[in-house]
């Protein structure tokens, strides 16, 4: 199909930090206000609102109730995608592409430090065969990481490379609070949580909100710095861990194929200025790079080790710092999108990738990356 003309015209993020001393409404208002200001629009111009949050993590029934007013959804349409923010972004893209809505406000919010993240994630597993064993995102990731490392002959040091890079980038990202850079030795010396993953291989539990304003081609002319969504794709794998091929992600391969096809991307290895990847765990950045076709299978670690994916490298991955660098779960993919927009606009300051013009954005939800969303952003329409 003809790529729909949809642009991101405003972005804003709160500070990402643990135990944020704001209510969800206060936190989300800050992000929404920022995004509206960034886009230079008034809430009255917003036609539709898409929010992303998950009830059990928020401890609320219909947790979008907590944000109805601050996202401007009083006597306006709002829909909540209960998943990672990039899935909500894919839906928001379709709302604009449908031709029915010119301006869509997109908001993801999460309070990762509200509850025990892994204890909540236990309730994602089917209650019959997996949940009662105590399975959670951490244990599942441990199994996947171990299988992936085993298959490709990697060890904890290879994973630590991702941690070192993303913590360094996160420490340079002004929207992240309390993330410091770390040495490879310190990563390797940190206590193992689920072999082979240490505390440092797991993203920290943080709170925050991210808002993005999308606009249609027909009105994008009034915005100063539109960044165009050239393609989207998302796909979900089967659920039972024992049914899946955990060492690669077929769902991600398909999500990327769809997004690339829409965007006309044929050589993902050389078409992007940067990639923003949602990596709740260190090894996932490597696996998702491979699934996205940025590297051959089992070889993404080489791009990390050679410094290629560092901020100063030829192909920066997660210049924002990613989730390991401090952005919260659920907001994950939307925060990646916000960073890519800033990079393409040349507004990333200390973490600016020179000449960034086209970015690959990724989000994931569920255990071991069961579901993936992919978006391609471009300075050109």
């Amino acid at each position: 199909m003809e790529p729909a003309r949809v642009a991101a015209v405003g972005v804003a993020q709160t500070i990402y930090e643990p135990f944020k001393r704001m209510t969800t409404a206060e936190m989300v208002y800050e992000a929404v206000k920022g995004a509206l200001t960034d886009a230079g629009i008034d809430i009255s111009e917003v036609n539709y609102i898409v929010t992303a949050s998950v009830d059990l993590w928020d401890g609320l029934t219909a947790s979008n109730i907590a944000v109805t007013e601050v996202v401007g959804a009083v006597m306006r349409p709002e829909v909540r995608v209960a998943s990672d923010g990039l899935f909500a972004a894919a839906h928001a893209f379709m709302l604009v592409a449908s031709g029915h809505h010119d301006i869509v406000l997109l908001v993801a919010h999460a309070k990762g430090s509200l509850a025990n993240h892994f204890a909540v994630s236990n309730w994602t597993f089917d209650p019959i065969y997996q949940q009662t064993l105590g399975m959670d995102f951490l244990a599942a990731a441990g199994i996947q990481a171990n299988a992936y490392c085993e298959l490709h002959g990697l060890n904890r040091s290879h994973l630590a490379g991702v941690v070192v890079k993303n913590r360094l980038n996160g420490s340079r990202n002004p929207v992240v609070s309390g993330v410091s850079s770390i040495s490879r030795e310190d990563v390797l010396g940190s206590p193992v949580q689920a072999y082979p993953l240490s505390v440092c291989d797991c993203s920290p539990a943080t709170d925050g909100a991210c808002a993005v304003v999308l606009a249609s081609k027909s009105i994008a002319g009034r915005f100063k710095r539109p960044v165009w969504i050239k393609g989207i794709g998302y796909c979900q794998d089967v659920h039972y861990l024992g049914d899946r091929t955990l060492t690669e992600s077929e769902a991600l391969i398909r999500a990327a194929q769809n997004a690339y096809k829409m965007a006309g991307v044929t050589k993902p290895q050389c078409e992007f200025s940067l990639a923003e990847i949602t990596e709740p765990f260190s090894y996932q950045e490597l696996m998702w790079m491979e699934g996205l076709g940025l590297s051959e299978k089992g070889e993404a670690w080489k791009m990390v080790e050679s410094g290629l994916t560092m901020l100063e490298g030829k192909f920066p991955v997660n210049p924002s710092g990613g989730l390991i660098g401090g952005s919260p779960f659920i907001i994950g993919g939307l925060a990646r999108m916000a960073e890519a927009v800033l990079q393409i606009r040349g507004e990333a300051h200390a973490r600016q990738v020179p000449g960034a013009s086209k970015a690959l954005v990724h989000g994931t939800a569920g255990p071991c990356g069961q579901s993936h969303a992919v978006m391609i952003l471009d300075i050109a329409d």
């Binding site: 009830d55 609320l60 029934t61 907590a66 959804a73 449908s98 979900q236 069961q370």
Partner: protein, 382 residues
Amino acid sequence: MAVIGTGQTKHESRRDDVSMQEMLREASQACLIDAGISVGQVEALVIGNMELFEGRALPEMWCAEGAGFSLKPSLKIATGGTSGTSAVIAGYYQVASGVFDVVMVVGFEKHSEGNTGTGMAFTDPMWDRHVASAAVGNFALSISQYMAHRGTTQQQAAMAAVKARRNACNNPYAHLQMPDLSVEDVLNSRMLAYPIHLLDMCPTTDGACAIILASEKVARKVCPKPAWIRAAATLHDQPYIGDHAERLVTMRTLKEASRRAYQAAGITDPLKQLDVAEIYDPVSYAELAWYEILGFCKPGEAGRLIEDGVTAMDGELPVNPSGGVLSTNPVGASGVIRVAEAALQIHGKGNKRQVPDVKTALATGYGVYSWADVVILSSSPQ
């Protein structure tokens, strides 16, 4: 764009014979058979479900493959009671965007596995959680205002409850089928919260419902009688129960959403122009309030409308031939069922609950505290 197929499970108070995932499969399979296409022809899935009722986090991870969507795009929509209609509207825009030509929407709930009253009560912990009294308590408060302002009686509400359970007898999938139910039975049933009797209130149900939405091109090819979606509108409102002086009496969201939808579909006199309505009636009194807000009658006349049988199966505008939410309420599915039943009437597949010659049908959704969805379907695309 059109609804080209519908399918649902038999709705019951408790389905121990199937897991949540297996229950989705029943609805999905029934829907695929009805549409006459294979799951391979459906490109994406939208799920509607209120996960906290079953204590789930990201339930689509487990359940999507139940609908047949392994290694396919899948999203879950959750907006309280409107989850089902919101999921349908989400699917509508996904097809309208051109990204997908064929999308399945599945709504489900398995209330028997959790504790719905408590699940409903996870309101703001800072404010009203310690007094939260589930849907019944909230409705009762609103209804006391509605009765005071409109003069609606308990008898009139009971008539709506009776109509629903009797209509349900014509619907083989309905949960509560009560052919002999009388107004007296409703009024004599246990008081849950004044003035709501047990039989004024919707049940909690295990069930799932699926529809398939297709682009005009595909719909014309595969479906002999597509139910075209002519309008879809959704509106939300302020979040606390006390934010509005008179929620149920005026429900401004439903009023405005229906105004927009009517306008888009060219409807100026809903009572005359609509052939059937499937409205989201969680409690008998709400059905009456919605009559007024949806413009079926003037404010204060809903009681007369039900007394005169205007909304009965043989009335001028049959409302809820399916038995409505009052007869069947798997929350995440309830909204999908409204749209499915409205589409089914246009498809002419209503069997015993078929209203003759349906050309235009209305479906609505309602969610805490006053979210509203309105969908209008028609036998003609323009």
